[in-house]
C-alpha cells in the first residue's frame, strides 16, 4: 500500500508470516464510507493493535475480520482461507462482555463449545480449565450480575479461549473496566500472547495501552478511513512488565503516535 508508511523497525516487518490478511477492504453504510480500500497484514502469534480516533473504522474492520459484517468490497483471509462468515478459527471478545445474564459463568464460558456440539461433560471440563486460567476458580456457578466488571470480562475472555481458535479478536476489551483492573489485564494479556500460540487483534483507543501490549500497532485515521502508519516496537517488552512504562522507546512511541493523531481529535 502506497499510503502505508513503515517506521521504527522496517526490517523486522518483512520476516513474519501472516495469520490474517485484510485486502482492499471497503465498507459503505449507504452514503457513508466507513472504510476505503484498506489493507493490513496480521503476523501469526503476535498481537496487532488497531488504534485510532473514534470513527476511524477500527471496530468495523474487526467485525469484518470476525465475519460479523460483510465488506462492500475486498476480502479477508484467515490462514489462507477466505472469510465468508464467522468461523471456528476466530473467537471474539466483546467490549460490553455480551454475557448471557440468565446463565452461570460455567454455562457462559461453555457457550461456544455447546454451539460446536461438544458433549456436556467435555465442554464443562474445558470451561472449568479456562475459568481457572483466567483466575475465576470458585465462581463457576455465579451469575454475571454477581461479578464485577473486570471479572465479567474475564468470563468473556475465558469463553473466547475455551473454543481454542487460532485468532482472538478483541474489541476494546478493557475499556469498560476500571484503571487498576485494566493494568492487571494488560499484564495478563502479555503473558497470554507469550503462552498461547495465538494471533491477537486488539482494538483500542488508548495510545499507552496499544504501545504497552502490541507487537505491531496499526494507526488508523478517519475520513476516509485508512491505515496511516504501522509501528513495530522493538523488544522493550522483554525487559519485564515493570520496566515497560519507563522505557525510553515506549515513551517515544507514545509521543510520536499522539503527535500524528492530535490533529484528528477535535
Amino acid at each position: 500500500m502506497s499510503q502505508t508508511k513503515e517506521t521504527i523497525t522496517p526490517a523486522a516487518s518483512t520476516s513474519f508470516e501472516s495469520a490474517v490478511s485484510a485486502r482492499n477492504i471497503s465498507k459503505n453504510y449507504g452514503d457513508v464510507e466507513a472504510l476505503r480500500n484498506m489493507s493490513l497484514e496480521f503476523p501469526r502469534g503476535q498481537l496487532t493493535s488497531l488504534l485510532g480516533p473514534s470513527g476511524c473504522g477500527k471496530t468495523t474492520l474487526l467485525k469484518i475480520i470476525a465475519g460479523l459484517l460483510k465488506p462492500t468490497s475486498g476480502e479477508v483471509e484467515v490462514n489462507g482461507k477466505k472469510v465468508t462468515g464467522p468461523g471456528p478459527d476466530r473467537a471474539f471478545v466483546f467490549q460490553d462482555f455480551a454475557l448471557l445474564p440468565w446463565a452461570t459463568v460455567l454455562r457462559n464460558v461453555a457457550f461456544g463449545l455447546e454451539m460446536r456440539g461438544v458433549a456436556t461433560s467435555e465442554r464443562e471440563a474445558r470451561a472449568e480449565k479456562y475459568i481457572k486460567e483466567v483466575g475465576l476458580a470458585g465462581f463457576e456457578n455465579a451469575y454475571p450480575h454477581e461479578l464485577s466488571g473486570g471479572m465479567r470480562q474475564r468470563v468473556g475472555l475465558a469463553r473466547a479461549l475455551a473454543v481454542d481458535a487460532q485468532v482472538l479478536l478483541m474489541d476494546e476489551p478493557f475499556s469498560a473496566v476500571d484503571e487498576q483492573t485494566r493494568r492487571k489485564f494488560q499484564e495478563d494479556l502479555l503473558q497470554l500472547v507469550q503462552n498461547e500460540n495465538k494471533t491477537f487483534i486488539f482494538v483500542t483507543h488508548s495510545i499507552e495501552e496499544a504501545v504497552y501490549v502490541s507487537d505491531q500497532i496499526a494507526i488508523l485515521l478517519p475520513r476516509p478511513s485508512r491505515v496511516s502508519e504501522i509501528i513495530r516496537p522493538s523488544n522493550f517488552r522483554s525487559k519485564g512488565v515493570d520496566n515497560i512504562r519507563r522505557d525510553p522507546e515506549y515513551l517515544d512511541i507514545v509521543d510520536e503516535i499522539w503527535a500524528s493523531l492530535r490533529t484528528y481529535v477535535e
Binding site: 464467522p86 473467537a91 455480551a98 440468565w102 454455562r107 461456544g112
Partner: protein, 253 residues
C-alpha cells in the same frame, strides 16, 4: 427475614378487608354489603355447591381462551418480533384489538358466532391475546444486538440463536405479558357472561343483583378476583422454577 414479606401481605389484606367492612357498615350505599356478609354468602354458596357449578361453566371459555391466547399469542409474537414483514402485517391488528371497545363489539360477535361457547372464547381471546402478542414481539425485537452478535461469532445456528438467546432474553417481558393477558382474560370471561348469556359466575352476579342479594353478588366478584390472584401467583412460581430449573438441570447433568 423471609416472613416479613408474608406478614406485610397479610397486613395489607387485613387493612383492605377492614376498610371494606367499615365501608359496608357505614354504609357507603345500600347496595354495598360488608366484608363479613359477603364472606358468609360465599361460604353458603360453597357449602351448597352452587359456586362450583358456576365455575364449571365459567372456566370453560376462560381456560380455552387463555390457553389459545397464551400459545398462539406467544407464537405470533415471536413471529412478528423476528420478521419485519409480519410486524407490518399483524401488529396493527393487535393494536386495534387492544384499543377496541369490546363491550360494544360483542353484539357483532354474537351475530357472527351465536351465543354459545365460541363467542365467549373469542371474547376471552380478544381481551387476552393483544397484550401477549405485543409484549412478546416487543421483547423479541429488543434483544440486545450484542447477544445476537455473540451468538453468531460463536457459531450458533439461526435456530440456536432464537432458542438459546432470543427467547431467554425476552422471557421476563413475555411472562409480564402473560400475566397482564391472563388477568384481562378473567375480565373477558366475566364480561362475556354478563353480555352474551348469563351462565356461571356471571349468572350469579346478574341474578343476585336482580333480587337485591348483594352479599352473594359481591361474593361472586370476590371469588373471581381471588382465583385470578391465585392463578397469577402460580404463574410467577412457574416462571421462577422454570428458569432455576433450567440452570440446575444444566449444572447437574
Amino acid at each position: 427475614m423471609p416472613n416479613r414479606a408474608l406478614l406485610l401481605k397479610l397486613l395489607s389484606a387485613v387493612i383492605l378487608f377492614g376498610a371494606w367492612e367499615i365501608a359496608g357498615r357505614v354504609p357507603v350505599s345500600f347496595a354495598f354489603p360488608t366484608f363479613l356478609e359477603s364472606m358468609s354468602a360465599l361460604l353458603a354458596m360453597t357449602l351448597d355447591g352452587s359456586i362450583f357449578e358456576a365455575y364449571a361453566e365459567t372456566l370453560k371459555p376462560l381456560a380455552i381462551g387463555v390457553a389459545i391466547s397464551a400459545v398462539l399469542g406467544i407464537a405470533i409474537g415471536l413471529w412478528v418480533g423476528l420478521s419485519n414483514t409480519f410486524d407490518w402485517l399483524f401488529s396493527p391488528i393487535f393494536i386495534v384489538m387492544q384499543a377496541a371497545p369490546l363491550a360494544a363489539l360483542i353484539p357483532l360477535l354474537v351475530l357472527a358466532y351465536g351465543i354459545g361457547l365460541t363467542s365467549k372464547v373469542l371474547v376471552v381471546c380478544i381481551m387476552a391475546m393483544p397484550v401477549i402478542v405485543l409484549n412478546t414481539s416487543g421483547a423479541v425485537r429488543n434483544t440486545p444486538e450484542s447477544f445476537k452478535e455473540m451468538g453468531r461469532s460463536f457459531l450458533a445456528s439461526e435456530t440456536a440463536i432464537i432458542l438459546r438467546i432470543v427467547i431467554p432474553a425476552a422471557s421476563p417481558v413475555i411472562f409480564a405479558g402473560l400475566r397482564l393477558g391472563i388477568s384481562a382474560g378473567f375480565i373477558g370471561a366475566i364480561l362475556s357472561e354478563l353480555k352474551i348469556t348469563p351462565t356461571g359466575v356471571g349468572d350469579i352476579i346478574t341474578y343476585s343483583r336482580s333480587i337485591a342479594d348483594y352479599p352473594s353478588m359481591y361474593a361472586a366478584i370476590f371469588s373471581i378476583i381471588l382465583l385470578a390472584v391465585l392463578f397469577l401467583n402460580l404463574l410467577e412460581k412457574v416462571e421462577t422454577t422454570l428458569f432455576k430449573g433450567n440452570q440446575r438441570d444444566y449444572v447437574s447433568n
